[in-house]
């Protein structure tokens, strides 16, 4: 941008000599570069005079110039002032660059900032209005579809449920989420932050960018910079308010009462005497409400005066759930200050305080899915009726009272000291304090023998998690002729202490919420329980980075971090994470033609190693299991028991990812078109994952132990394209991001005790539906390949089959072609990892109106419909069962009805396509005319309508194809989720 202005300036100044000095009128329109919107109220003054005008509501201006007036200065709050030489022009349209956008040239990197042109790493940014488009409490939602290689899934639509973020595919098993660095404080989540308080979010993707975060960089790093005091003098006040309504966007199609009754009569003849008169209850209608509100209000003050600048923000977010008795609200207070003690010393603080409240509904979605449509919710006298299947979902919710409160305070205090000309010392003391409280009350009730509670119960818990992080860095900057050096060295310490205290009692003296305290419970020993535990973990790190550039053409970055963590035993205490990267700005080369076609040509390449240590601090210890009591004696007394707990792995090592990235950045026609292409390859070794231990090990059924299990490759290409231009008065911007992922297991760690394959993806019913094996994507679905239905006895007799199969059952492929079907014929039946993730965004503006559309989607991944496969009891069936096989030739897809047995063996009968395209957001905005806003004392007023998750094109039969799963050995399995909603919003932004 700076360059562009320079070129314009030089070009125009050559014309100055030619210009004849005479009186004339100049006019034009002022727009914002960011989104092409017109800017009303821009101050325009003639340089060296007091003569000036402002733009009108449409951003237009006209000014009379005398013969000596040659330069106009355009200034507007929040935007960089711009000087323009008039020359002979009479129409002078000016594009202003917002201060925020100007940051685009300066990119926030780990422990510092860099000019974008000096970057050797792969970094994507989101800033400005893109941060607040999605009505959500969680700022991460803004990243979806905006940055190549970043996937944000919302596996649950429950109010206050955090999204799952994956950067460049799935590397690790245990916890694939990136870390967040908020104003220098390293955190695991940012759900306490209000999107409106954020200035920018940078996603660091390659090792050159993330290696400085060492053992925590493996899954990517998201740097969040919150807003600081506005640049100009005075105080800027802004207020915004948004109101939204949400509704379920899609129901799962199930059998009707009559259809279900007929199927049950096939299973157990005579169960329903007359299938045409059975009730028909749609349980999804029963549990979900339509048009449930979300509110989001915020106000901020920011300003600066001389040495002091501040930003103060306050916000309130409230979301009700589409299931009753679920909701979330949060207040977030933000206060950032900085004060320059002298020219060389600056002190400051960043602080966020966010109390929130959450109410959790009972887990009724699976219950409603399973409930028989032939049951009704209420008896004739208005009581909850017994509902076959999994109980009465309305009763389950009615008798569940679960709340959680949390107070989170995150921030830091820092001092920056410049000394000896080229040195900058920074010390920051950061903290993350989190205090939580939960309460859960269940009254006595009876609905049915399997849905009853004889003793009222209350559980209360409190927890506190305290982290402090002390970071010290010294930065050295030196330019000698054409050589630029920058070196950084640092030392950091971090300690996290957690503790919880919990208690529960039975038989409370009453049911009123005023009695939901432990003191109101029965005091008999044996029915009271207390719990108290904690953990401490520490990290100490040394970090180092140097950047060197020659003539702004050749760039070199070398960085390293050494981390020590208490999570690993003595022999594996420290891990070292180096990276090397080079960049080449070809445009600065003399051999490049000086055409105006290219505005940027840059090549960069990086290599480095980063790590992951997101496991529990005590994973390496074999702990003692207490409370393993037994009952003895004629009087039946409890006697205490204790023994060794689950087996552990004392040899846990750091997980490490070796990452290579080659990038090409192109800009054409003054960056009218920009393109960024990256090839990446990540190899993650010693992946940390909880592996299910076999039964004979004696840990109990399906207990998992953290292990360094495997090496995995993620490889792909990322492309980011943006085009911005104008046709007449319509300005538009079109952008797209796409990334491919090739995921492949390279080897299985022998230290895990598994060297040929790892079974995982437990459905909870004894079935494992994924297998991880060398050469396959991690956690691939594994089961029988269905090749039809046995149509008649002759086909059955002539075919290889499982011993319990009969006519009308699914016919499985004889994969091994040995004439028999057994477990060895199971095969790979799909991967949960999408091969392509994409998003495309368009923005249009015309006069005071603007419109934006964001699409996003993925393809190539499969979903295991686990909710359909898990059937310990007889549940309602999905609508596809309607077309079941009922005789030769009737179906070659849907088997005869059954409620368990051979047709429920893991197979691709349960596999569905998870590809989708979603209209993530559509927004129409209107900027009020200046004449009106001025009267109201406003500098800017804007109103908008928006829709989020408006539609999703997908073949998947469930609520949403975005199925998460924090464990990559078990992802993409839909076991029943709280669905996401379509949200329609109206909002107003005012700036004073």
């Amino acid at each position: 941008m700076v360059k562009k202005i320079l070129i314009t300036f030089l070009f125009v100044s050559q014309l100055i000599g030619m210009a004849l000095a005479q009186s004339k009128q100049v006019g034009g329109r002022v727009t914002a570069r960011e989104d092409g919107s017109t800017l009303p109220g821009v101050n325009i003054i003639v340089e060296g005079t007091t003569k000036g005008v402002t733009t009108d509501a449409f951003g237009d201006y006209a000014i009379e110039l005398s013969e000596n007036d040659n330069v106009l200065i355009f200034s507007f709050i929040g935007y960089a002032p711009q000087k323009v030489v008039v020359g002979t022009q009479t129409v002078l349209n000016v594009i202003l660059v917002s201060n925020a956008e100007e940051l685009d040239e300066i990119v926030v990197v780990g422990y510092g900032v860099q000019r974008k042109s000096d970057l050797t790493g792969s970094i994507g940014s989101v800033r400005g209005s893109d941060l607040t488009k999605i009505p959500s409490f969680s700022p991460e939602q803004a990243l979806q579809g905006k940055i190549a290689g970043v996937q944000v899934a919302s596996p649950s639509g429950a109010p206050g449920a955090a999204p799952v973020i994956r950067i460049r595919g799935v590397g690790t098993l245990n916890n694939s989420s990136p870390i967040f660095v908020v104003d220098g404080v390293i955190l695991d989540d940012i759900t306490f932050l209000n999107s409106g308080d954020i200035e920018s979010m940078e996603v660091l993707k390659d090792a050159s960018a993330t290696a400085i975060y060492g053992s925590r960089g493996s899954n990517g790093v998201i740097i969040v910079t919150t807003k600081s005091g506005s640049k100009g003098e005075g105080v800027q006040v802004s207020v915004s308010s948004e109101y939204s309504l949400q509704r379920l966007s899609k129901q799962i199609s199930m059998l009707t009462g009559e259809e279900f009754a007929k199927v049950v009569n096939v299973l157990t003849p005579g169960t329903f005497n007359n299938t045409s008169i059975v009730p028909n209850t749609n349980w999804q209608d029963q549990i979900f409400s339509d048009w449930v509100p979300i509110q989001n209000h915020q106000a901020s003050l920011s300003g600066s005066s001389g040495k002091y600048s501040f930003y103060f923000g306050a916000s309130y977010f409230k979301q009700d759930g589409i299931i009753s008795k679920s909701g979330y609200d949060r207040v977030s207070i933000k206060l950032n200050n900085s004060y320059a003690i002298s020219k060389s010393i600056k002190v400051g603080n960043n602080l966020t305080i966010a109390p929130d409240n959450r109410q959790n509904a009972a887990d009724v979605v699976p219950i409603a899915y399973r409930a028989w449509p032939t049951s009704v919710p209420y008896t004739a006298n208005g009581d909850f009726a017994e509902v076959f299947g999994a109980g009465n979902p309305l009763a389950a919710n009615e008798f569940t009272n679960s709340t959680a409160q949390r107070l989170r305070a995150v921030g830091n205090a820092y001092i920056d000291v410049s000394f000896l000309k080229n040195f900058l010392f920074k010390s920051s003391f950061g903290f993350d304090l989190s205090y939580g409280k939960t309460k859960s009350y269940t009254p006595t009730f009876f609905v049915s023998p399997t849905q009853e509670n004889l003793r009222s119960s209350l559980g209360v818990s409190t927890d506190e998690n305290k982290t402090w992080l002390w970071e010290n860095t010294i930065n050295y900057n030196k330019t000698i002729d054409k050589h630029k050096f920058n070196a950084l060295a640092g030392f950091t310490l971090q300690k996290t202490t957690s503790e919880f205290l919990s208690g529960s009692v039975l038989n409370l003296i009453g049911t009123d919420p005023s009695l939901w305290y432990l003191n109101a419970g029965e005091t008999l020993t044996g029915t009271q329980r207390v719990g108290n535990g904690g953990s401490i973990s520490t990290i100490a790190s040394y970090l180092f980075r140097t950047n060197y550039s020659y003539q702004d053409k050749y760039l070199l970055t070398v960085s390293a971090r050494i981390d020590g963590s208490s999570k690993f035993g003595k022999s594996n205490l420290y891990g070292t994470y180096p990276s090397f990267a080079v960049g080449w700005n070809l445009l600065n080369e003399s051999f490049m033609p000086t055409s105006r076609v290219f505005s940027n040509v840059k090549l960069r390449a990086s290599w480095g190693i980063v790590g992951n240590e997101k496991i529990n601090g005590d994973s390496r210890f074999s702990l003692i299991a207490n409370g393993q009591n037994a009952v003895f004696g004629l009087n039946e007394q409890i006697q205490p028991g204790a023994t060794l707990g689950s087996t552990a792995n004392p040899n846990l090592r750091w997980e490490s990812t070796t990452q290579t990235d080659i990038g090409l950045e192109l800009g054409f026609w003054d960056d009218k078109l920009t393109a960024e292409l990256d090839y990446y390859s990540r190899v993650t070794d010693d992946i940390l994952v909880g592996l299910t231990t076999p039964g004979h090990v004696g840990n109990g059924a399906f207990v998992r132990v953290i292990t360094n299990a495997a090496s995995v490759l993620n490889r792909g290409v990322e492309l980011t394209l943006a085009w911005r231009d104008q046709i007449g008065q319509v300005k538009y911007k079109i952008g797209g991001v796409a990334s491919t992922v090739h995921n492949e297991v390279l080897n299985l760690g022998a230290s895990s005790g598994s060297d040929s394959f790892i079974s995982s993806g437990s459905l909870g019913n004894g079935q494992f539906v994924t297998r991880t094996e060398v050469g396959q994507p991690i956690g691939s679905f594994y089961g029988y390949n269905v090749i039809g239905i046995f149509q008649n006895q002759a086909e059955l007799d002539a075919s290889p089959k499982l011993s319990d199969q009969s006519v009308g059952d699914l016919r499985y492929a004889d994969t091994k072609q040995d004439g028999i079907i057994n477990a060895d014929d199971r095969t790979y039946i799909g991967s949960p990892i999408p091969s392509l993730i994409f998003g495309f965004n368009t923005e249009f503006s015309y006069k005071s109106f603007d419109l934006s559309l964001d699409f996003q989607g993925q393809s190539g991944n499969k979903i295991y419909n686990g909710k359909m496969a898990v059937r310990p009891d007889l549940y309602n069936f999905e609508a596809r069962v309607r077309n079941y096989w009922r005789g030769e030739g009737t179906s070659n897809v849907e088997p005869r009805p059954s409620a368990g047995g051979v047709n429920y063996e893991p197979s691709n009968y349960f596999i569905e396509d998870g590809s989708y395209l979603r209209l993530r957001n559509i927004r129409v905005g209107y900027n009020f005319p200046l004449a009106l806003t001025k009267k109201l004392g406003l500098t800017n007023a804007r109103a908008y309508l928006s829709g989020t998750n408006v539609f999703t094109l997908t073949k998947y039969s469930g609520f949403t194809p975005e199925i998460g799963g924090n464990d990559a050995f078990s992802s993409g399995i839909d076991l029943g989720i709280y669905p996401i909603t379509a949200v329609y919003s109206v909002g107003l932004n005012l700036t004073f």
Partner: protein, 494 residues
């Protein structure tokens, strides 16, 4: 300006110094222990630890999964019972009734894992307690208990699955092939029970507060049972008679007290699982309790029409074994589940052949009208009547038919039946088998007895039993997969 530079230097020096001093004690900073929890290194060093670890083995009996994966599968799979409850509830259990279950049935893997969890706890005691400095008498007893319990868990496993991964240490490798069934018997079960019968006290020697712990009599009774499963009638006779001659046990005069709440830890109880409703409960009886009116549980394990008709006329055990609708037990009227049909016919809509009638397992009945009390039900694993019948069977097979009748008739007499006077070995063999069915009905013995005596094919064949396949349960498919196929499947399971 100079002043600022000086200040800068002072601040920098201070920070640098403090930084360096922190670096010096880095090792301590990075050495953090688990909080509020002990680690393996410090445990099982004292007499108290040894007692805690031994008690923890018994804790497995309170685990719902210990009871054949939660549900009374061993009765359901036999000809004595149907799945019960309402048709939709745990409908997958119906597959056991029809012999259509597969290797991926979760009940089987939960059961398998629970038994091995018990084995690991026993192995911990067997490996670590010998090294603990403590009272030698107590040490001997605790080790005896651990050996008894390990044998008990392995006996369940070996009958259900045949060849097994042989684990005798606390930490087993992930991949472990199956050892032959004979080796499990000869190297673990029998030596363990011999050690237990050597080291344990007789029932009467225990303090009343320790009722429920394994005894010498329990070890010998289990030995008798283990030998009969190997058709070693000589040893069965030996150990069963040793138990009988100690005089530690006798039949309860009233049949129902052999398994009822009042008969807990009574004279007929040889090995019994202690449970206490409030905080040491077991869900065993709740799973099978009367469903509906009164609401005592889920109603699984419905006595079959076949079983009801099997009892001889005048056999008082029929009424004590089966809860019929409309009867009153301990003052409680049994109304049953109004949501299901009381009678299910095998041939709708003609409805002439009765398939099931709504009944419940009375052996788990606990007085009361709510579900809570059922959690205090003590399951009897071995009772004296079983020992008498084992003795009778062994004596008969050892051609001591007259002596056999003595024990058989003791059991019959309590049931209100006339003594058997036959002298033909083959006839008496059948009488004893019938007596086992009647006496021990709904207690999880029938299926094993049919397999053991080779009658499963004829009796269970019509229900779906396939010879060469269903004599054993399948190794859970999940275990085969987790072991990376080191474990091989049982014959004819795909």
């Amino acid at each position: 300006m100079n002043r600022w530079i000086k200040t800068n230097r002072v601040i920098s020096a201070l920070l640098l110094t403090s930084t360096l001093s922190v670096v010096a004690c880095m090792d301590d900073f990075l050495d953090q222990k688990p909080q509020g929890q002990q680690t393996e290194e410090v445990f099982l060093k004292t007499s108290q630890d040894a007692q805690l670890a031994t008690t923890a083995i018994y804790n497995i009996f309170l685990d719902w999964n210990y009871h054949s994966g939660g549900f009374p599968i061993l009765d359901i799979i036999s000809d004595d019972a149907y799945k019960g409850s309402n048709p939709g509830d745990a409908s997958a259990l119906e597959l056991f009734n029809k012999f259509q279950f597969t290797a991926s049935a979760g009940d089987i893997s939960r059961w398998y894992s629970a038994l091995y969890k018990g084995i690991r706890r026993a192995n911990i005691v067997i490996e670590k307690v010998p090294l603990v400095p403590m009272d030698e008498t107590l040490k001997k007893r605790l080790l005896g208990e651990a050996h008894f319990l390990r044998a008990h868990f392995y006996f369940d496993l070996v009958r259900a699955f045949g060849d097994l991964p042989k684990v005798t240490v606390p930490t087993a490798p992930r991949k472990l092939a199956r050892s032959p069934k004979s080796e499990i018997y000869s190297e673990i079960i029998i030596p363990d029970l011999l050690a237990a019968s050597e080291n344990l006290l007789e029932k009467s020697q225990y303090a009343t507060t320790d009722a429920g712990r394994a005894t010498k009599g329990a070890a010998k009774s289990l030995l008798a049972k283990v030998y009969i499963f190997q058709n070693d009638f000589i040893n069965t006779e030996k150990y069963a008679l040793e138990v009988i001659t100690t005089g530690q046990y006798d039949l309860e005069p009233e049949y129902k007290n052999a398994f009822s709440l009042p008969g807990q830890f009574g004279k007929e109880s040889v090995f019994e699982l202690g449970a206490e409703a409030n905080s040491g409960g077991s869900q065993f009886a709740n799973t099978q309790g009367v469903r509906g009116v009164p609401n005592r549980g889920w109603g699984f394990n419905r006595p079959s029409v076949e079983l009801i008709n099997f009892f001889e006329p005048n056999d008082i055990r029929k009424d004590e074994t089966v809860v019929f609708l409309g009867e009153t037990i301990d003052g409680v009227f049994i109304g049953g589940d109004s949501g299901t049909q009381d009678t299910v016919y095998a041939n709708p809509p003609t409805n002439t052949i009765i398939k099931e009638i709504e009944t419940y397992n009375q052996k788990v009945w606990v007085p009361g009208i709510a579900t809570l009390e059922a959690f205090g039900y003590n399951k009897r694993i071995i009772r004296y009547a079983d020992v008498l019948l084992l003795a009778a069977e062994a004596l008969n097979e050892n051609n001591k038919t007259a002596a056999a009748l003595l024990h058989l008739n003791k059991v019959r007499q309590r049931a209100g039946l006339l003594p058997v006077a036959d002298t033909d070995k083959v006839i008496v063999r059948q009488k004893i088998a019938d007596e086992r069915r009647a006496e021990l009905a709904m207690e999880g013995n029938r299926f094993w007895d049919l397999i053991r005596t080779g009658k499963a094919a004829s009796v269970l064949g019509p229900l779906g039993f396939k010879v060469g396949k269903h004599e054993l349960f399948p190794i859970p498919q999940s275990e085969i997969d987790l072991s990376e196929k080191t474990l091989q499947q049982n014959p004819n399971w795909d």
